[in-house]
Amino acid sequence: MPTSSLVMFEEEFKQITAVIDRLLKEANAKVVFLVDKDGQLIAASGETGDMDTTSLASLTAGNIAATGGLAKLIGEKEFSILFHEGEKDNLHISIVGQRVIVVVIFDQRSSLGLVRLRVKKANDELNAILQKLLRRVEKKPSVQENLLAEITDTDIDKLFH
């Protein structure tokens, strides 16, 4: 396998949530998402109530993948920031540590400049937490193995009943 599974623990999840909660406030944004490059939603903050967060995560990853493909075609490594402007709401998408994506949804109460500034600061913090998480996963694969080793064929069959 080219990359190992992404594993999230309680401690890092809390730290990540704290960072994106703060980003939400400081950027005056409506919603902040953290999405894995493969399209899995990692964490969300803000007015997510009636939002289809799963689809949003998947499409964001598709968007990043497609623009990443475009970047390579013109000799760039990646486009680390994408911005989509709507009539009311705007999307600011950026890549952290080449592995996860930060999505900020904001309206006229904020501005692109403010969002960019706050995202940059948050990205550094998020990157540090993610690096710590990756090191932890490398060091302690046993936690994960224990959980998965206990899964039996009967458990899997039960999923379809």
Binding site: V7, L159, F160
Partner: protein, 195 residues
């Protein structure tokens, strides 16, 4: 690449439906969408052309229930089957945990099946995967049509590795859930082996 979240107690996996153009990948997902309790699935997203050909991908999130207190979620994707969308297919294969190869049973589509299978192997290799160590199943779709390739011949050509395989008529749902169940099982067994 699976995502195991100990905080929200979730296991997330990605399954990709691969195969030649018009073989029934989107039809598989549409049937699963129709027959699954809305509580256990999200919206199905199709990035398609005006003529309903898949342009980038279809996406269907499924929630299958708990294993050892962990919610199991599967994200089902299809690739665009048409030959010229190869760049998109490569992107969608990134981070895949399991593949369903959907083959078109019609005799005249045999070359397209082989070409697509070879393309899948090449694209997997480019992503650092090898067909011999990634969970995959094969579905022989459109078995209700008159001009189909005999099953034995199909297996000899497409399933040399002896992967689990299923006959199907995706339009009416025959074999759709059997295929899904098989790939889910293989993916979870692979996860269990340890990554």
């Amino acid at each position: 690449m699976s995502f195991i979240n100990y905080s929200s107690r979730e296991i997330n996996c990605k399954i990709v439906y691969y195969g030649p153009g018009l073989c029934g990948k989107t039809t598989n997902l549409s049937f699963i969408f129709k027959k699954t309790n809305p509580e256990h699935r999200g919206k199905m997203i199709s990035l398609a052309t005006e003529t309903e050909r898949t342009l980038f991908f279809d996406f269907l999130p499924l929630s299958l229930g708990d294993i050892k207190g962990f919610k199991t979620r599967f994200h089902l994707y299809t690739v665009p089957g048409q030959i010229f969308y190869d760049a998109s297919r490569k992107l969608i294969l990134k981070g895949v945990d399991g593949i369903v190869f959907v083959a078109d049973s019609q005799i005249e589509r045999m070359d397209a099946n082989i070409e697509s299978f070879e393309n899948m192997k090449a694209n997997l290799k480019e992503q650092g995967y090898d067909i011999s160590n990634i969970p995959y199943v094969i579905q022989y779709n459109k078995r209700d049509l008159a001009n189909v390739v005999p099953l034995a011949e199909f297996k000899k050509v497409l399933n040399v590795n002896g992967a689990p395989d299923f006959e199907a008529v995706a339009a009416t749902g025959v074999g759709v859930f059997e295929t899904l169940k098989a790939i889910v099982k293989l993916v979870l067994i692979e996860l269990k082996k340890g990554t």
